[in-house]
């Protein structure tokens, strides 16, 4: 047995950072509650079952880590789209680089600017979905975030929104720890497209809570920054009412450690929740998707589609669960997790789980690991396509099922182009 540092000593170091934080304002109570929650749970450690495949140490250690800034002249992804840009630099909102927050058909505010107010629509969501998501599995990093996050956006869609809200994360400082906590509310019948791109910080802990009312629709596309040494932990918590739709896609390239948790509760009949991810890792890369979908209403559909391309010793992890409660009849649940291992040194660790208490449901899951299809590779080469390019074409082909989960053809194109660029830079 190795020595594991006592959790609460480490946790106190974290909590001390925000010692002067007052617990006033509309979110004060939630912060205090979250502080108590995380103190009870302790930080995750390597002996926790839920962290069996990904060591949490680098996410919890007190010292602020360093990650070299990516020197790149890439054009910003999604730059060709009409959008509302909201820019955070090292986790700090930049009014200069952002569009005006008001004057849109969607309400956008900042957590930091509303905190001292008494009363806010977000108080019904902030920290509440996170708290609900602590059972049956504890997610201490999310509670830590609720307790400590200084900023984030509060987005309220009251009708069909004409432009996507795009959060752009930029970095200037090699060493910085960032916590952001976003809250999104989609009213009954409203719709919102929500984009995120870039590396949040040298190390980041990000929470997104999304509450979707009846017949509301939320579409989320996220491109995680490709700074090589950055560490990222994200939690998405979504609550879906009747006939509402939640679709989320995440693309990850590079990053030393990424843990993306997604917790979805289908609480109204005929809801639809799709969560998908594509990642490409080369070398020092650990990427973990941990998903928990709860069906607690009749006739809901959920899909989980995760694809990982791994090479030069990269590691992929998938823990995905579908829980179907007793009354959630006519549930349609689907889960697939696949890895393309481009060499013998890379590995994929998958734990697919189904837990079903209703008797009239259709749930399927599958998980595979494989190398490049030799027949397809030969076919392409026999037509004159060089081996490296042919391998890249097959890599894109492998990822297509996940990328196609994006509900917008133009967004798909920009993601595919972005992936092509990543592959091309590695081709010799």
């Amino acid at each position: 047995m190795g020595f594991v540092e006592p959790n609460n000593a480490l946790l106190d170091l974290w909590l001390d950072r925000a010692e002067n934080q007052t617990d006033k304002g509309w979110s004060g109570q939630q912060r205090a509650d979250a502080r108590a929650r995380v103190q009870k749970m302790g930080l995750p450690n390597r002996r926790d079952e839920y962290w069996k495949y990904t060591r949490p140490d680098r996410l919890t250690e007190a010292a602020v880590p360093t990650a070299e800034l990516l020197s790149s002249e890439d054009q910003e992804i999604f730059s060709g789209f009409e959008q509302i840009k909201i820019v955070f630099v090292d986790g700090v909102f930049s009014p200069e680089l952002s569009d005006a927050l008001d004057g849109h058909d969607v309400s956008i505010e900042l957590l930091s600017q509303t905190r001292t107010q008494e009363g806010h629509w977000a108080s019904d969501i902030f920290g509440q979905l996170e708290a609900a998501g602590q059972s049956p599995v504890e997610r201490p990093l999310a509670a830590l975030n609720t307790a400590l996050a200084e900023d984030g956006v509060l987005v309220h869609a009251k009708g069909a929104t004409s432009k996507p809200v795009h959060l752009i994360y930029l970095r200037q400082n090699q060493s910085c720890d960032v916590m952001l906590h976003h809250v999104v509310k989609v009213d009954s019948g409203a719709s919102l497209s929500f984009l995120e791109s870039g590396a949040v910080g040298a190390r980041s802990n990000l929470v997104l809570e999304t509450d979707i009312e009846a017949a509301g629709s939320f579409h989320h596309v996220r491109i995680q920054g490709r700074d090589h040494q950055r560490l990222a932990s994200t939690h998405q918590f979504a609550r879906l009412r009747q006939e509402s739709t939640f679709k989320s896609f995440t693309l990850t390239a590079n990053g030393a450690l990424t843990r993306n948790e997604c917790v979805i509760e289908l609480l109204g009949d005929d809801g639809i929740a799709h969560v998908a991810g594509a990642c490409v890792g080369d070398g020092d890369f650990v990427h973990d998707d941990t998903v928990f979908v709860t069906h607690d209403a009749v006739g809901c559909e959920s899909r989980q589609v995760f694809k990982k391309v791994l090479r030069n010793g990269a590691t992929g992890v998938f823990q995905g669960k579908i829980l179907v409660k007793q009354d959630a009849q006519k549930t349609d649940g689907y889960q697939i997790s696949q890895s393309l291992l481009l060499d013998e040194d890379s590995q994929f660790l998958a734990k697919p789980e189904l837990e079903i208490y209703a008797d009239d449901v259709a749930c399927s899951h599958g998980s595979t690991s494989g190398a490049v299809d030799e027949d397809a590779l030969f076919y392409l080469r026999s037509r004159g396509v060089p081996k490296a390019l042919a391998t890249d074409m097959l890599t894109l082909s492998f990822l297509a099922e996940a990328v196609d989960e994006i509900d917008d053809a133009e967004l798909i194109n920009s993601v595919v182009e972005w992936l092509e660029g990543w592959l091309e830079r590695r081709r010799t």
Binding site: Y379, L380, S382, R383, G384, S397
Partner: protein
């Protein structure tokens, strides 16, 4: 055009010899056919020529227009002008047929030091060639061979051949799985490509394809060797009497 000398080939994974000294010379402008019973080594020959992994050449040589082929990677052989129409074309989900065709064409051009074809020019050329093979816009848009019928897959092979304009075309059991109409369409596509600068090697079990693609020379292959060579009448003899008579005769 293509010259095969004393070619001996074994499987890499097991110590089994498949080709036991194949000699064959296909001249430019000619169509050669290879017929033979199952397991005679016909398909192995096509794979070895195009560079598929898993085979070991233990003896012999293959040259294409005087250039040694066996040292080349599959993509280099393609750029040198060799083309294999697959018996079982491979499905590649997630890669559009157009992207595939254009990448193949431009990769070959690049390797040969030629200028890449522009998108507009490519589109024009593909449309024209696709039309004569009754390949519609939908088939061009779909992922490579995914959801294609047997006939569509084979037509797609011929489209690739027409587009890439190889010097030496090898057709491996292109008639398998085709009904008569589909076979005629494929044969017409092949015949349109026949010219004095191009060689063909047509591998088939049955004579019927050769009704539509008239060969200049017919070879009978058995147990890893060419055992008999003749004119088109040899194919008819196989059709009438089967392989056993010929094999008994040369035994």
């Amino acid at each position: 055009m293509l010259e095969i000398k004393n070619l001996h080939v074994s499987l890499e994974e097991e110590d089994k010899q498949i080709l036991k000294g194949v000699d064959l010379k296909v001249e430019a402008g000619k169509v050669h056919a290879i017929m033979g019973p199952n397991g005679s080594g016909k398909s192995t020959l096509s794979y070895v020529l195009s560079g598929k992994a898993g085979y070991q050449v233990t003896e012999g040589s293959v040259t294409l227009r005087g250039e040694e082929v066996l040292d080349l990677e599959p993509e280099e052989r393609a750029a040198a002008g060799l083309f294999l129409a697959f018996q079982y074309p491979v499905e590649i989900p997630g890669v559009g047929n157009m992207t595939f065709l254009r990448t193949a064409l431009n990769s070959q051009r690049k390797m040969r030091g030629e200028e890449e074809m522009s998108a507009a020019e490519f589109l024009r050329v593909v449309r024209e060639k696709a039309k004569s093979l009754k390949i519609d816009a939908d088939m061009l848009k779909r992922p490579v061979n995914v959801g294609f019928s047997g006939g569509e897959k084979k037509r797609n092979e011929i489209l690739q051949m027409a587009l890439l304009e190889p010097k030496m075309c090898i057709l491996d059991e292109t008639d398998s799985g085709l009904d008569v109409d589909a076979m005629k369409l494929v044969a017409r596509g092949v015949n349109a490509l026949r010219d004095e600068n191009r060689g063909f090697l047509v591998i088939t079990h049955y004579q019927r394809l050769l009704d539509h693609i008239a060969p200049d020379v017919v070879h009978i292959m058995a147990d890893g060797k060419i055992v008999k060579t003749g004119g088109p009448e040899l194919a008819l003899e196989v059709e009438t009497n089967g392989y056993s008579d010929i094999l008994a005769e040369v035994a």
